[in-house]
Symmetry: C2
């Protein structure tokens, strides 16, 4: 499918870091950067941006903060066609800690929020736009949002100066028909804006849902190498690049980084298709219970997890 306005965003380090508190070697981050460049990726999301007083550097690696010095050590001046993005959680970055774009290597802030935080998200997005950055708003957990609240979010975003709005399948619970329905709603409510998609892979639908989003008009697509990301992970970048017909995209550099760094890491960290994530996705549940189960010595007790989660669901008894 050749749509030349499609942009691919790699968030291997940012989303993958949710599984190891961003404790990546510099060599790994450098390899992801170099292979994204060689693969024709449009944006690389290098981490979260957080104020230093919010988290401890003893516990979290550099990519929880994305200081200019740490970013520079990986990308130099980044004199390339690939842009750099960071993800901002509401309340984790002080406005005063955000430099003007002229003093930063970062090109884009993505603001993640829940529906009830939309005003704060727009405020932060406008703040970074005024400082010279691109901005997106990524509405999380939409599979639990009511129609009335979603209409209000879309109305607010529509009136804002934020040009990019993300459909996010936070729980990996969406089927193609959910994608069609939400994409229709988003594109109708936000004419002229770009819609992005960030999926999770609990039901092995991350890539399929990304394709469905493209068909329905989404033009910014998130993916990670070998699908590395929270819980079941994300749409695999290597699949997305193999699918897209634009000749600028190359899969081979990504295979090299997977071979050298990501596959070895997967032998130590359990992201991907595991039964607890499959169960939480199919039940439209936040993955936190599944992640806790996978971190325990009961990780291979699938029936135990199923029984535990079903015990919490009055509607399924």
């Amino acid at each position: 499918m050749y749509k030349k306005d499609i942009k691919v965003l790699d968030c291997t380090i940012r989303d993958g870091g949710l599984m190891n508190k961003w404790q990546f070697s510099k060599e790994l981050v450098k390899s992801v950067y170099e292979s994204c460049l060689a693969a024709g990726v449009d944006y690389m999301e290098i981490g979260y941006i957080s104020s230093e007083d919010q988290f401890s550097r003893d516990e979290y690696g550099a990519w929880k903060f994305c200081s200019e010095a740490d970013v520079r050590e990986i990308v130099g001046e980044n004199n390339t066609n690939m842009k750099l993005s960071v993800l901002a959680d509401i309340g984790r970055i002080s406005f005063d800690d955000i430099r003007p774009k002229s003093e930063s290597l970062i090109d884009m802030f993505r603001v993640a929020c829940y529906d009830h935080q939309i005003d704060k998200a727009i405020e932060l997005a406008h703040h970074v736009i005024d400082k010279g950055y691109e901005a997106t708003i990524n509405l999380m957990a939409v599979s639990k949002v009511t129609e009335r609240s979603l209409n209000e979010v879309l109305s607010d975003v529509g009136k804002s100066r934020v040009e990019i709005f993300y459909l996010v399948d936070s729980f990996g619970s969406m089927y193609s028909e959910d994608i069609q329905s939400l994409m229709k709603k988003y594109t109708e409510a936000l004419p002229g804006k770009t819609i992005g998609f960030h999926g999770h892979n609990n039901m092995q639908l991350g890539f399929a849902n990304t394709i469905e989003c493209i068909i329905q008009g989404a033009r910014m697509l998130d993916a990670t190498m070998l699908g590395m990301g929270r819980g079941a992970g994300n749409c695999p970048l290597e699949l997305l690049l193999s699918f897209l017909k634009n000749p600028k995209y190359k899969v081979k550099p990504v295979l090299q980084t997977i071979q050298d760094y990501i596959n070895p890491l997967q032998k130590q960290i359990d992201w991907g298709y595991f039964m607890p994530y499959m169960v939480s996705g199919s039940l439209n549940e936040h993955p936190r219970a599944a992640m806790a189960w996978m971190d325990s010595d009961k990780k291979d007790d699938y029936v135990g997890f199923y029984e535990e989660i079903m015990d919490t669901r009055e509607d399924l008894k």
Copy 2:
């Protein structure tokens, strides 16, 4: 999605056995049978049917042959609502070795064929129908079949007494638009017949393509526990059962067998999402080269495999 005429066929033993020459313990096969029963699965495909002079029992396990005695040891008289099927490859079973249905526990023969074998496939299918069995024809490798040849196959099947015809994504190379196109072709060419779907999971699209097939009218759906099957494997049964809304389907018994038998087996046998299978699927290639690579000491050399397969593809240089 509640469509009460949907039938689910588990082929864990049959397709999974391609990875270990059907050397399963009786306890494992029994567990798959019992959990399929408890899960509401409509058909269980217990193996290939082959004449004893075609393969050695020293090399291959019981489910390469599916003798009545071996089947009986697992299912007893199978006085249940679940039917049993076997897969027949053209030329591997002598007509004389097929008993009348009245002397067999098997309910259905599925005949796998390439396009040039369609006459032989219909002959075998008619033979088993005349002996009292249900029959399907599963056309393999359709992603490499020309329009003219496919039209001839469909015309022949349309005139036959075979009631069930399978769309098979042998190479795991199909996207949703391929499914839509082929399902439209199959349903228009074969009014009144049932269309089935058997997918492979090279690009993590086995489940997504199964859903797309349901939307397009397919009513017999193949799946395997934890996706166990040749190479990248198949549509995972646990995902399909979680998706289908018919209350007769239960996922928990399948999770139990996965926990007890299939997950431990996956620690020994590499089926699933591996880069060589991803590459062969995305390039619409038979998985044999990827399977040979995965069986060698180069299995983690993804770039090496990519270069090898690209060297064979003049069209991609």
